[in-house]
């Protein structure tokens, strides 16, 4: 009975998975099992926490012990523009991806077998292909003499809009690769929305829209929020796509980090930008955790 209920409701698994009697011997062995985390924890401390810590300390000690690097961030109008570009492009990518991913995931949840497999694979392919290649291909496709403006001309648009070298192309390029972050969590959540719920709602007089708003949407909310968070962090962190597809008007904070390192060799100022970006992503994480609970954000 415990096994059945755990299969039906994954949320219960943690509690019901261990129908083992607790002897002192087995308890001690399980303590040892916990130690298997240790190598990965040690690596994470040295390979993840330490680098970020060093970066944070560089931001206030390099070139000298002061807050001058942060002064620059707040004083120079350039950084206001870069911050605005980062936030704007990130938001656009999240919205664009969500608008495509939700209906796509919904249709996936209605299918089985080969059709489902093809739809899932199509979402994964861009994510698994090379970032540089993807950006480079969009560059070719969207360039003024490329096939897509050409197609627009054939369709009667004599002066197609500039599609590359601005935020549009950056958003297109990022939305393509960010699809799996939203499609799969929403798909998983949708498969848990039983048709019975919707039938029950319909029998009580709810139209399809009301049923969607009151039943399907709340049940898929954790998937949506966590997916949007992953997309936002990915969009904030990428360098190649904005560098190759964006233009003068769409430079983001990341690109500034690279420019600083490659030209000035100033780790201090770049570190301050890095800390700023880290805080920005932390705000997103906390916001998501507030919306759907930290278990959904961090839990596997």
């Amino acid at each position: 009975m415990t096994l059945q209920s755990s299969a039906a409701n994954p949320g219960l698994r943690v509690m019901t998975d261990y129908p083992v009697e607790r002897r002192s011997g087995s308890a001690r062995r399980f303590e040892r099992t916990g130690l298997l985390c240790l190598p990965a924890v040690i690596y994470m401390l040295v390979g993840f926490v330490l680098p970020l810590g060093i970066m944070a300390s560089y931001s206030v000690t390099n070139p000298s012990l002061s807050l001058s690097n942060y002064d620059t961030l707040f004083q120079e109008s350039l950084y206001r523009i870069l911050l605005w570009n980062t936030v704007r492009i990130t938001a656009l990518v999240v919205i664009a991806t969500l608008l495509i991913a939700y209906p796509y995931a919904y249709l996936m949840s209605r299918l089985h077998g080969m059709k489902l497999a093809i739809m899932a694979l199509a979402v994964l392919l861009p994510f698994l292909s090379s970032t540089v290649v993807r950006a480079f291909t969009w560059l070719t496709l969207l360039s003024p003499n490329g096939p897509i403006p050409g197609m627009l001309r054939t369709l009667g648009l004599s002066h197609p809009p500039t599609l590359v070298g601005n935020s549009f192309s950056v958003v297109v390029g990022l939305a393509q690769v960010c699809m799996p972050f939203l499609v799969f969590p929403i798909y998983s959540a949708l498969t848990l929305v039983s048709d019975d719920y919707l039938r029950a709602a319909a029998s009580m007089g709810a139209g399809p829209l009301v049923a969607f708003r009151r039943i399907t949407l709340p049940l898929t909310k954790p998937g949506i929020v966590v997916g949007c968070l992953l997309v936002a962090v990915y969009a904030m962190g990428g360098y190649v796509t904005p560098e190759l597809l964006g233009g003068q008007g769409s430079v983001i904070l990341n690109q500034d980090i690279v420019t600083q390192i490659q030209t000035v060799v100033g780790f201090g100022p770049a570190s301050a930008v890095g800390v700023g970006l880290l805080l920005l992503s932390a705000v997103c994480v906390l916001f998501a955790a507030k919306l759907v609970g930290s278990r959904s954000v961090f839990g596997a």
Binding site: Y43, P51, M55, T137, P180, V240
Partner: protein
């Protein structure tokens, strides 16, 4: 009744057109890359004119491209081994340790790299490795990139292990097998596919890495994505498309493999 079915037909048509458009948006560009690389002209053009493999031959004969491909291959293989070596035991502990007080916190800790803008981590790694003198080395790259591969491996393996019936392990234990033997003979064979899929994801994450590698490579030591990035920023030759074609083919093969091994792979890794 007929009105209802007409509506259904219309809804069906819209759905099919929508899915076709999205798949074209997702997969179309990849196919275009391969088509462009087969051009016989000396410049990039789409639709390609003529058909030849000359750019592939040129790329394969170039020492520069071959060296960066070799570096990428070695680094990606080692990252996938390192991330699996660290991630599998960690995932096992997260799922099976009975009195792990910090289970939630630890899981969150391993997921953190996914929630960190990659360029920020790249900068921190660069400062660290320049300080200790490991930049532009294979070891330096493997060490840094393992951080971004680890979450994929831990998440994927944790889900595989959770799916293993605990009673099978207990049965083996009752018959006298040591915990190590139980893991080796019972658990490992059952999670084999998930383990390989996780390792493939780690491989691809490293193979395509172009943020950490920007700071940790240098003249004479470029990974394939960085070599490609330098070339793309210089000028667009069909050689770039040929390399892109090769990379896309590698990605296609790897993803089909991951997919066949683990049909629910996408849901597993991203679905949480």
């Amino acid at each position: 009744m007929s009105r209802g079915s007409a509506e259904q037909l219309a809804a069906r048509t819209v759905a099919v057109l929508f899915v076709a458009a999205v798949i074209a948006f997702l997969v179309g560009p990849l196919l275009v890359t391969i088509a462009m690389s087969l051009t016989s002209t000396n410049y990039l053009v789409f639709p390609p004119s003529g058909m030849s493999f000359k750019w592939y031959t040129q790329v394969l004969e170039s020492a520069e491209w071959r060296q960066s491909a070799l570096i990428s291959l070695i680094v990606a293989t080692l990252v996938s081994v390192a991330a699996s070596g660290l991630g599998l035991p960690a995932a096992y502990a997260l799922v099976r340790a009975q009195r792990l007080r910090l289970r939630g916190a630890l899981t969150g800790f391993f997921v953190l790299p996914l929630l960190t803008p990659i360029m920020v981590l790249a900068l921190g790694q660069a400062i660290l490795e320049l300080t200790v003198g490991y930049s532009a080395t294979i070891i330096g790259l493997v060490f840094a990139e393992t951080a971004i591969a680890l979450p994929f491996v831990v998440l994927n393996n944790a889900i595989s292990i959770r799916a293993v019936d605990r009673n099978l392990e207990l049965a083996a234990q009752t018959l006298g097998a040591t915990p190590m033997l139980v893991f080796w003979r019972v658990t490992l064979p059952l999670i084999r596919r998930g383990l390989i899929a996780g390792a493939l994801f780690a491989f691809i994450a490293s193979w395509d890495e172009a943020a950490i590698t920007i700071f940790l490579t240098g003249p004479g030591f470029y990974t394939l994505p960085i070599q490609l990035l330098n070339q793309v920023e210089d000028y667009l030759s069909p050689a770039v498309a040929a390399v892109s074609g090769c990379l896309t083919l590698v990605a296609l093969v790897a993803s089909f493999a991951a997919f066949l091994l683990n049909r629910a792979g996408g849901t597993r890794i991203f679905g949480r």
